[in-house]
Amino acid sequence: MSGPTARRLKVFRRNKLAVAGITMLGLLVLFCFAGPLVYHTEQVLTSLADSKLEPGVNGHPLGTDDLGYDLLGRLMLGGQTSLVIGLAAGVLATMIGTLWGTIAGYAGGWVDAVMMRIVDAGIAIPALFLLVVAAAIATPSVPMLILVIGLVSWLVPARLMRAESIALRSRAYVESMKVMGGGSVRAIGKHIIPNAIGTVIVNVTFQIADAVLLVAYVSFLGLGIPPPAANWGGMLSEGLTYAHDGAWWLILPPGLLIVMTVCAFNFIGDGLRDAFDVRFEGR
C-alpha cells in the first residue's frame, strides 16, 4: 500500500496514545456488545431483596444496585446505550455541521452572513441549558437524546467546515469544474467535502467524546432515561445518591468507563488530527 492513506496510517500508528485509544475502544465495544452473550443477567425485573449487595456477594462480581440489578451486567447494557447515543449524536452533529458550513462557505455573501449569524446565536446559548429544557418538556428516550444532542452540537463543525469550504472553493479544480458547467451540488458533494474529509473525520471523534460526556451531564441533572433502560451517566448519578451508604461500587465502575470512553475517542482524535495534518482550535 502506498499513497496518502498508507502515510496517514503510519503517522497514526506511531502515535502511541492513538493506538492505546483504538485498543481501549475495541475492548469497550467488546465488553458492552459481546459481554452479555457470555455473561447472562436479569436486567428487566427488579429484585429488591438483593438491593445494594457488595461486590462478590451472591455471585454478583461487582455487586448490585439499589433495584437489585447485577452491576456488571448493567454496565454492559448501559454501555450499549451510552456508546450508541454518543456515536449517533456525534455523527449527526458532524453531518449537519458539515453541510451547513460547506454551503455557507461556498455560497458566500449574504447567504453566508445569515447562516453564520444563526451559528453564532446557537453557540451563544449553552447546550446544557437547552438540553435541560428539552428533557424537562419531553420524557428522555434514546432517539430523543440522539436528536437533541446532535441538534445542539453541530455548530463548531459548521464553523470549521465553512473555513475549509472558503479555502477550497477558489482552487483551480473547483473553478475549472464550474467552467465546464458543473453545478454547486457537484462542487460541494464531489470536490469540497471529499477534500476536507480529514477535518470531518477528526471532528466526528471529538464530537462523539463530547456527546458521551453530555449524556452523563444530562443524567446528572436528573433528566436521564428512566429504568429498566440504563446508561453509564445515569448509573453514575444514581450511584452518587447512595454514596452515604458507602456504596462505592455504584460510582467507581460507571465513572471509570465514562472517563475511559471519552479518553479513548480523544486519543484517537488526536492521532487522526496528526495523521490528516488538520488544525483544531481549542484542542
Partner: protein, 317 residues
C-alpha cells in the same frame, strides 16, 4: 479599526436578535403549554383558557413574540409563575453570585494552566510532556460532577477541611464572608476549563515557537527563556484571551452543574429549579441573559485582541 469595531458591534446586535427569536420559538414548543404546568393536572379547561388569555398565550405566536420583544426593550423579562417575582429581580439577585463562582474558577484555571501549558510546550515531545498531556486529557474526560463529588468525599467528609455545601448567603458580601465554603465549588468549576486552557496554550506556544520572529530572536542570541517570556507568551496569551470570550457558554454550563452539586443558589440553580416546574419566563430570561453575556464577551475579547494584535483586524463575514 473604527470600521472593524462598527462591523463587530452590528454583528453582535444581529446575533442577539437571532437568539431572542430562537429561544422564544423553541420554548413555545412545550407540549400542553405553560398553563398546564402552572395550574396543575386538575385545572379545568375554562381555567386554562382564562390563564392563557390573561397571559396573552391565546394570541398568534408571532404577535406574542412582538409583545415580548417590546417588553424586553424596556428591560422587562416578565414575571415568574411559581415565585411571584419579577424575573429581572430574580436573575439580578443571583447573577452576581454565579459570576463570583465563574470568575474565581477561571482565575484558578488560568493560574494553573498558563505555567503548565508553557512548560509543556518548552519541553515538548518528552516523557513529562506526554504524561501531562495524558493527565489534562484525563481531567477533560471526567464529568465535572464526578470531580466535585470526589472533592466532597475527600476534603469535606473524610478530611472535614471544608463544608459540604456552598455558601448559602443572599449577597455577594455574604458569599465572600463564607469563603471556606467557596473553595470546593471554585476548584470544581476550575476543573471544567483548566484542561482546555492548558491544552490550548501548549499548542499555541508550540506553533509560535516555529514562527519567523522566534528564529530571528534566536539568531540574535536571545535565550530560550527570554524568547518564551518576552515574545511568544505575549502572542499566545492574546489568543487565549480571545478564546475566553468564546468559552463563556462552557463556563456557564459548568456553573449549572457545580451549583446543582453544591446547592449554590446562583443563576444555574434558579434555572434548574425553573425547568422542574416549567417556569417559562425564568427559563427564557436566564437563557437570554447568558446569551447576551456570551455575545458581549466574545465582542470584548475580539476587540481586545484587535487592539493588541493588528493582524486580527480584518473584516470577516
Amino acid at each position: 479599526m473604527a470600521r472593524y469595531l462598527l462591523w463587530r458591534v452590528l454583528q453582535a446586535a444581529v446575533v442577539i436578535f437571532v437568539v431572542t427569536v430562537v429561544v422564544f420559538f423553541l420554548l413555545h414548543q412545550i407540549p400542553g403549554g405553560p398553563a398546564r404546568g402552572i395550574l396543575g393536572v386538575q385545572a379545568t379547561e375554562d381555567q386554562i383558557k382564562a390563564f392563557e388569555h390573561a397571559q396573552g398565550y391565546d394570541q398568534p405566536v408571532p404577535i406574542q413574540y412582538l409583545h415580548y420583544l417590546g417588553r424586553l426593550l424596556q428591560g422587562d423579562l416578565g414575571e415568574s409563575f411559581q415565585l411571584n417575582q419579577r424575573v429581572a429581580d430574580l436573575i439580578g439577585a443571583r447573577l452576581p453570585k454565579t459570576l463570583v463562582l465563574t470568575v474565581l474558577s477561571t482565575l484558578v484555571a488560568l493560574l494553573v494552566a498558563i505555567p503548565l501549558g508553557v512548560w509543556q510546550a518548552v519541553r515538548r515531545n518528552r516523557p513529562t510532556d506526554y504524561l501531562l498531556s495524558a493527565l489534562t486529557l484525563l481531567i477533560y474526560s471526567t464529568p465535572v460532577f464526578l470531580v466535585g463529588f470526589i472533592f466532597i468525599i475527600v476534603f469535606a467528609i473524610n478530611a472535614a477541611w471544608f463544608p459540604v455545601e456552598a455558601p448559602q448567603a443572599d449577597t455577594v458580601a455574604g458569599v465572600f464572608a463564607d469563603s471556606q465554603a467557596l473553595v470546593l465549588p471554585v476548584l470544581t468549576g476550575a476543573g471544567v476549563v483548566l484542561a482546555v486552557f492548558s491544552r490550548y496554550l501548549r499548542s499555541s506556544v508550540v506553533d509560535n515557537l516555529d514562527e519567523d520572529y522566534v528564529r530571528t530572536a534566536r539568531a540574535k542570541g536571545a535565550s530560550e527563556a527570554r524568547i518564551v517570556t518576552r515574545h511568544v507568551l505575549k502572542n499566545s496569551l492574546t489568543s487565549l484571551v480571545a478564546m475566553l470570550g468564546y468559552y463563556l457558554p462552557v463556563l456557564f454550563s459548568g456553573a449549572l452543574v457545580t451549583e446543582k452539586l453544591f446547592n449554590y443558589p446562583g443563576m444555574g440553580l434558579l434555572f434548574w429549579n425553573a425547568a422542574q416546574t416549567s417556569d417559562f419566563p425564568i427559563l427564557l430570561g436566564v437563557v437570554l441573559i447568558i446569551s447576551i453575556a456570551t455575545v458581549t464577551g466574545s465582542l470584548l475579547a475580539d476587540v481586545a485582541q484587535a487592539l493588541i494584535d493588528p493582524r486580527t483586524r480584518r473584516v470577516k463575514a
